[in-house]
Symmetry: C2
Subunit: 207 residues, 2 copies
């Protein structure tokens, strides 16, 4: 059987990243998050700053309604037009995720991997969310500033993820139909989110 992959998309402040780490530890597999960007930069030779820019959405908005950006998986060679395009930068990240999954079972957070792996067997695609107040509270641990500033940050981050998802994967980032399992971490707590994912892996026969 193929290596298993748990993909986790999460709202900022929901604790989804923490859940992913706890899950990986419990399963004894690797956990991948932002380091995929560095790996994709290293492999492609494209400056890591450009990855950051795509992520930050500076150029996502410009072509938001341009459906040609939807991920198809084909890489553009360094000597071809579009090598440093948003699309190719996304494609390189997707390639790194795909290569990792070929080598080992793992937990991967973010980067629209739920879309990249939508037809992959032995894959469980999770979305983790939490109530607004919970997210604000949790964000205080990481962001300094007034509640108003934190709330502004959260709204901006939701919008950024939504734009990013719409551009590369189509549809809505928080739409349940893009996932196999969606959990409310605010209601469940992190430990039980891990339990819920393990239970779902068991139900789906993922191992």
């Amino acid at each position: 059987m193929e290596n298993f992959v748990i993909t986790i998309a999460r709202q900022y402040g929901s604790g989804g990243r923490t859940v992913g780490k706890m899950l990986a530890e419990k399963l004894g597999v690797s956990f991948y998050d932002k380091q995929i960007i560095q790996m994709a930069s290293d492999e492609s030779g494209i400056d890591v700053k450009l990855f950051g820019q795509v992520e930050e959405g500076s150029s996502v908005k410009a072509s938001l309604f341009n459906k040609t950006g939807l991920y198809k998986g084909d890489l553009i060679a360094p000597d071809q037009k579009g090598f440093v395009s948003d699309e190719n930068i996304f494609n390189y990240q997707a390639k790194i995720a795909t290569d990792l999954a070929e080598k080992e079972s793992c937990v991967i957070v973010g980067r629209c991997v739920n879309y990249v792996f939508k037809d992959r067997p032995n894959t469980l695609r999770v979305f983790i969310h939490a109530p607004w107040e919970f997210r604000v509270e949790k964000s205080r641990e990481k962001i300094s500033g007034s509640d108003e500033e934190i709330e502004k940050f959260l709204r901006r981050d939701d919008k950024r993820k939504q734009d990013y998802y719409r551009k590369f994967a189509g549809g809505d980032w928080s739409d349940a139909t893009n996932y196999d399992l969606c959990l409310n971490a605010g209601k469940l707590g992190f430990e039980k989110c891990v339990d819920a994912i393990l239970a779902q892996m068991n139900v789906m026969g993922i191992k």
Copy 2:
């Protein structure tokens, strides 16, 4: 502890209703779906046809962007203005669901009960979806017509549910953040959806 309630929202053709029935049978509790409409009609004295019209969205669209329709739970008396309004018809359905939950543990399908019960303890709110092809295939068992006609029906039903949800509950009907658990019935199959819900009840301590 309060009676437990499992609310199920589902895409037409996802098999969510079947899953709800199987779940109720396995748990040995009542299953409520459309009969809530008749019960609300009986209790209020409002013609059952008016309930159907609200559901069909004939008048939902007109005030789609009117936020005053969001469910708050207050009933309007027969001698007051708005007694047969869409809002009051929704409120009566919500009241029936609330009364049922006071009397017994149960599974309730549809009617935005996930929103009505959003703060209710001992409640698990499930959204069941399935891939488009699966839904078309499943719908053939219930609807006669060409694939094109079935697809048209499905698009219309999704739109209807989306409009209905937006009007009475706000936000998007298929948005994961409105639920505690979202499952892909096409990938899992119905039996495993039931298993997944039972597993989640266990994780959440719902009983």
